[in-house]
């Protein structure tokens, strides 16, 4: 029976995987929630597969075990040479990463990853990205407008206008876009 270790140290519902995988017949080891507990669990429990959220702060702990224990008499945990790389890549994109014993057959891994993937819909991530890009564009236009206003009203060069705005951003502890917003707002005030 495959021994599966879940790392549950982010607020995503990865923990819910446990019951699903147990129902599918995998042996679920006690979940760990800290990098140090993880280190011990890998050494004492010797899991075949570790499933962890892409955003887990424990990732680098697993990297160390994967790289440095290659010659030690314990399981080598790494991106398997046999595993379907596309599956792994999809998993990374969807917010889940698996570390597995080298040589573990893809067909044994696939159902585990499929269940894990289902937990991490990508849709919300895409929406967030789009909103972010639109915001960037708006800020950029605003900064450009403020810069041109300074160049006109203060007879400044483009370089000097930027420098003035940067100085104000630093002094006030705000983003450059905020300074631009102030400049534009001040100019829009009725005389």
């Amino acid at each position: 029976m495959l021994r599966v270790l879940l790392v549950t140290d982010t607020d995503k519902p990865i923990g819910e995987l446990r019951d699903t995988l147990a129902r599918l017949g995998y042996y679920m080891l006690a979940a760990t929630a800290s990098p140090q507990a993880l280190h011990k669990a890998v050494e004492s429990e010797r899991p075949d597969v570790i499933i962890v959220d892409t955003e887990s702060p424990s990732r680098d702990t697993l990297e160390q075990l994967a790289v440095m224990n290659a010659t030690a008499p314990r399981p080598v945990l790494m991106f398997s040479n046999d595993a379907n790389q596309q599956l792994i890549r999809d998993a990374v994109g969807a917010g889940v990463t698996a570390y597995l014993v080298e040589g573990l057959a893809t067909e044994r891994l696939a159902p585990i990853l499929e269940v894990a993937l289902a937990r991490f819909a990508q849709e919300s991530q895409l929406r967030e990205r789009l909103a972010q890009a639109e915001n960037e564009l708006a800020e950029r236009k605003l900064i450009d407008r403020a810069k041109r206003m300074l160049m006109d009203s203060q007879k400044m060069t483009e370089h000097a206008a930027y420098a003035t705005m940067r100085k104000r951003a630093m002094n006030q502890g705000v983003k450059l876009a905020e300074v631009a917003r102030q400049i534009v707002a001040a100019a829009d005030l009725p005389d």
């Binding site: 990098p35 140090q36 702060p57 994967a66 450009d144 630093m170």
Partner: protein, 380 residues
């Protein structure tokens, strides 16, 4: 003076292939160039907008560079070279666009070990007082901190693969682990050494500049095909980051950026713990503070420095020795792109091959052969 003839493959019009870039960083003081570039929008003058994405681990930085979720990132020098060799994961051709900083990392030990060192003078004697295998933490298996720690331990007569247990713990949790007596020492970037000392749970006993004076540390990294597909964008990004690094070459600006780095969205540590070690490390000339620019000397991506990481991976059994390490490094480090970008923003180009005397007295001048690697008495 002859200027080098560049054979640029880029669009001669200089039109940017991409204008919005997603850059990853990890919560460390030396993320300052990215934070400055974003807050002060140094990219706008070069046609770029920058989106900063804080990453919870170096593994996340690597995976997102590989998947294309990030265009470029604040990266451990060694991480790029580890991926290039396929150590611990899929091999991918990588690029070092420029060096972002030198120095600025340190080794901090528990109070108990620090006291033992005071009493017994040598590290092996001090470690023996613990009565068990010492535990040292670093940040990533192929990263810079692993390499500084291993090199330093070996220089003190301690074998990093046999005499200690090496673990990786995320930097924000290292200080807790030290406080709970679960670690004897750690090698990490600032501000975490300063935090450990401020909380009274450890003492910084070596600065990374003592291991290798002015060593390269974080780099601006991307996949190789980011450079080949978007050469004008990559050049504009280097120009942007060079301006940010130049801006940081001023103590007043470093105090200002410390206040900004303190925010939870960046480092989440009080500015009072960030600023001091951004400005000075120690009174000793060997204890050098972090450098971000120094007239561009910091930023030139010398392939010879990259070869050092390959040589150390071979030393520690993480990679087979190869005679073509120098060639691989010259393909990773984008010297031509860097020189074009530096010229465009008036940064002087320093192509002198660096040479340094490291903590064990050995000279590193970029010429690695098998004999150099075998010259280390402590190795895998």
């Amino acid at each position: 003076m002859n200027s080098p003839a560049y054979t640029s493959s880029s669009d001669p019009s200089g039109k940017l292939e991409k204008t919005h870039l997603r850059l990853g960083f990890v919560a460390l003081s030396d993320a300052a160039p990215l934070v400055a570039a974003k807050l002060l929008e140094f990219g706008h003058a070069h046609g770029l907008t920058i989106e900063l994405l804080k990453q919870p681990s170096w593994a996340a930085i690597r995976d997102k560079l590989l998947s294309g979720d990030l265009d470029a990132a604040h990266s451990l020098y060694g991480l790029v070279y580890g991926v290039q060799l396929g150590i611990g994961g899929p091999q991918t051709d990588m690029a070092v666009l420029m060096v972002l900083n030198r120095n600025g990392q340190a080794i901090t030990v528990s109070n108990r070990l620090a006291a033992a060192l005071d009493e017994h003078k040598t590290l092996p004697a001090a470690l023996a007082t613990l009565g068990r295998k010492p535990v040292f933490a670093q940040t990533f298996p192929t990263g810079t901190h692993a390499m500084w720690l291993y090199y330093w331990l070996a220089s003190q007569g301690v074998h990093p693969l046999r005499d200690i247990e090496g673990v990786v713990i995320p930097p924000p949790q290292m200080v807790d682990a030290l406080a709970q007596d679960r670690l004897d020492g750690l090698c990490v970037g600032e501000p975490w050494n300063a935090v450990a000392q401020e909380r009274g749970v450890g003492r910084t006993i070596a600065y990374s500049s003592e291991v290798w004076p002015d060593h390269p540390e974080k780099v601006l990294a991307s996949r190789r095909d980011f450079v080949t597909r978007y050469p004008n964008t990559a050049r504009a990004l280097v120009q942007t980051m060079l301006e940010a690094c130049r801006w940081l070459d001023d103590d007043v600006h470093r105090v200002e950026i410390s206040r900004r780095l303190a925010a939870d969205e960046f480092v989440g540590v009080p500015a009072g713990l960030i600023a001091p070690r951004l400005i000075a490390a120690g009174s000793d000339e060997k204890r050098r503070a972090v450098k971000f620019f120094a007239d561009g000397v910091v930023n030139y991506p010398h392939p010879a420095e990259g070869v050092w990481f390959f040589a150390q991976y071979a030393r520690w059994g993480m990679a087979e020795w190869r005679d073509d390490f120098a060639r691989i490094a010259s393909e990773v480090n984008q010297v031509e792109l860097y020189c074009e970008a530096a010229a465009n923003v008036g940064v002087s180009v320093c192509a002198d091959s660096p040479s340094a005397v490291l903590v064990d007295g050995r000279v590193w001048d970029g010429k690695a052969d098998l004999a150099y690697m075998q010259g280390f008495s402590i190795r895998a």
